[in-house]
Amino acid sequence: MLKDLFVKKKKYAAIPSEHAKQDVPEGIMTKCPNCKKIMYTKELSKSLMVCMNCDHHFPMSAYERIEGLLDEGTFIEYDKNMISENPLNFPDYLNKVEKDRQKTKLNEAVLTGEGEISGCKLVIAVMDSGFRMGSMGSVVGEKITRAIEKAMELKVPFLIFTASGGARMQEGVLSLMQMAKTSSALKLFSDQGGLIITVMTHPTTGGVSASFASLGDYNFAEPRALIGFAGRRIIEQTIREELPEDFQTSEFLLKHGQLDAVIHRHDLKETLGNVLELHQVGGEVRW
């Protein structure tokens, strides 16, 4: 056929690439994107998803985080049946949300609930960057706000792990307003004496870093997390100069006075337990 003349025929056999050769059956081994070391996923998971070789902190799913942090069996999840609408009638938006819902087993990019750390009761919210890049739309804003209200009601501390690319574009200005909503709830909670702790994890940027992530009585971060308001590329285009390599990392923020401490994931539970404990006894000790 004449048509066949125009179809490029493969003249070579497909040989698996160097990259593919290293791939082991899905899930058993994991390669560190930083030091390229390959290790058993189970071992990595035991190490709280911190590379045993170079200390790289892998992203953690919200459920993994809860499991690794809270006292066993204390977690009660809130609002797990709330899902997004499509306020702008954005093409394909709800399909994408649904796909991530199946993938992460979460209803949205934040998991909220109550539980205990070293016996101290608290309300916790954990964002998951695996769900629409952890972006904040109406559901994320509402779940966080309700969790803060619950902490107010129970008179317990509020702890949030942030991981987000910022506001969710597909919900337009309603996403932007979630910044005001969550920050307002924190203000009311704070005025009643509520303790707010934030732990910024990779990445915490845009509308999330410019609202609740920065509003803790204690703002902590995991090592080498990307934290900032504007994207690196946008800044480079604006100021027309290259930025230092550590720009917008946890360590950069610590150096510039924007963080209370950078805490290794292996030390998180102990540190948070300590902070919670120190805020429990307030005023009741008499010598």
Binding site: E85, G137, G172, M179, S184, L188, A230, I235
Partner: protein, 325 residues
């Protein structure tokens, strides 16, 4: 005329023609009164057609018009005894935000707003109305002062966004914006915000946690600029026009989404055509707004603001949650 916009060209051309004909009548003996009258009727119809059916992108063009009145223009029209004060007391004075004390119909108030420049020189000084953290911290300082002296706060919103720069990040752009949202929620005085030009994302919202939020008819308020949205969604910033429609950023859109209270009508063709008349239109809404907030107690004002923002957002409930339990 400077700053003619593409979509209003037919109106401007027709207007030119009418002026020409009038000149012609004056200099010659030919009487064209009838023709001129006909054209004037046509002009009126054309104006109503064009200015009455503006597309989102047309409004974006008006909102960004170089001659669009700025915060200081409205301050001059609406307030008396205005005293501009400067500085955040930590780092410096950011001229992308102006603020001070003034009287509004006899009532002492605090006025704060983003400030663009009118020419290149002023724009450089004011960083094109894109604040650094010290701008937001100055605004917060003035709000706290207003709270202390029980003065209502009026904020004018007009910015492309908070400045995306190295120094801004180093000094805590995120924290500065977040802290404003947080502290505005706790103000015990009435806060009225008016979007007068572009309401660009978090940089706009940092002056936007008000008991009432109004928008000029041709202003915009959005989570990202149309160009930014287009480059992220379709990897092509030139599709900004399409993005402006998809993202729903105009005053009527925001009213429908429940984000703003009132749409302040603009003079035909946009606020830049007549700043005095535009200020009067703002005055009507602003006065009514403050009047309706005056009877609220301090606690009620905080609750009112909280309830307002708590309502924003859309979500649904489902039964088939997955979860781990």
């Amino acid at each position: 005329m400077v700053g003619e916009l593409e979509f209003e060209k037919p109106v401007i051309e027709l207007r030119k023609k009418i002026v020409e004909l009038k000149e012609f009548t004056k200099t010659t003996d030919v009487d064209l009164t009838d023709e001129i009258e006909k054209l004037e009727t046509r002009l009126e119809k054309l104006e109503n057609d064009i200015y009455g059916n503006m597309k989102p992108w047309d409004r974006v063009q008006i909102a960004r018009h170089p001659e669009r009145p700025t915060t200081l223009d409205y301050i001059e029209q609406l307030f008396s005894q205005f005293l501009e004060v400067h500085g955040d007391r930590y780092f410096g004075d950011d001229e992308a935000i102006v603020g001070g004390i003034a009287k509004y119909h006899g009532l002492p108030v605090t006025v704060i707003g983003h400030q663009r420049g009118k020419d290149t020189k002023e724009n450089i000084r004011r960083n094109f109305g894109m604040p650094h953290p010290e701008g937001y911290r100055k605004a917060l300082r003035l709000m706290k002062q207003a709270d202390k002296f029980n003065r209502p706060i009026i904020c004018f919103i007009d910015t492309k966004g908070a400045y995306p720069g190295k120094a801004a990040e180093e000094r805590g752009q995120s924290e500065a914006i977040a802290k404003n949202l947080f502290e505005m929620a706790g103000l015990t005085v009435p806060v009225v915000c008016i979007v007068i030009g572009e309401g660009g994302s978090g940089g706009a919202l940092a002056l936007g946690v008000g008991n009432h939020v109004h928008m000029l008819e041709n202003s915009t308020y959005s989570v990202i600029s149309p160009e930014g949205a287009a480059s992220i969604l379709w990897k092509d910033a030139s599709l900004a026009k399409k993005a402006a429609e998809t993202m729903r950023i105009t005053a009527p859109d925001l009213k429908e989404l429940g984000v703003i209270d009132e749409i302040i009508p603009e003079v035909k063709g946009g606020a830049h055509k007549d700043v005095v008349a535009q200020a009067q239109a703002i005055d009507v809404v602003l006065k009514e707004s403050l009047k309706s907030l005056q009877h609220l107690t301090k606690e009620e004002l905080i609750q009112h603001r909280y309830d307002k923002f708590k309502k924003m957002g859309q979500f649904q409930k489902i039964d088939d949650f997955i979860g781990i339990q």
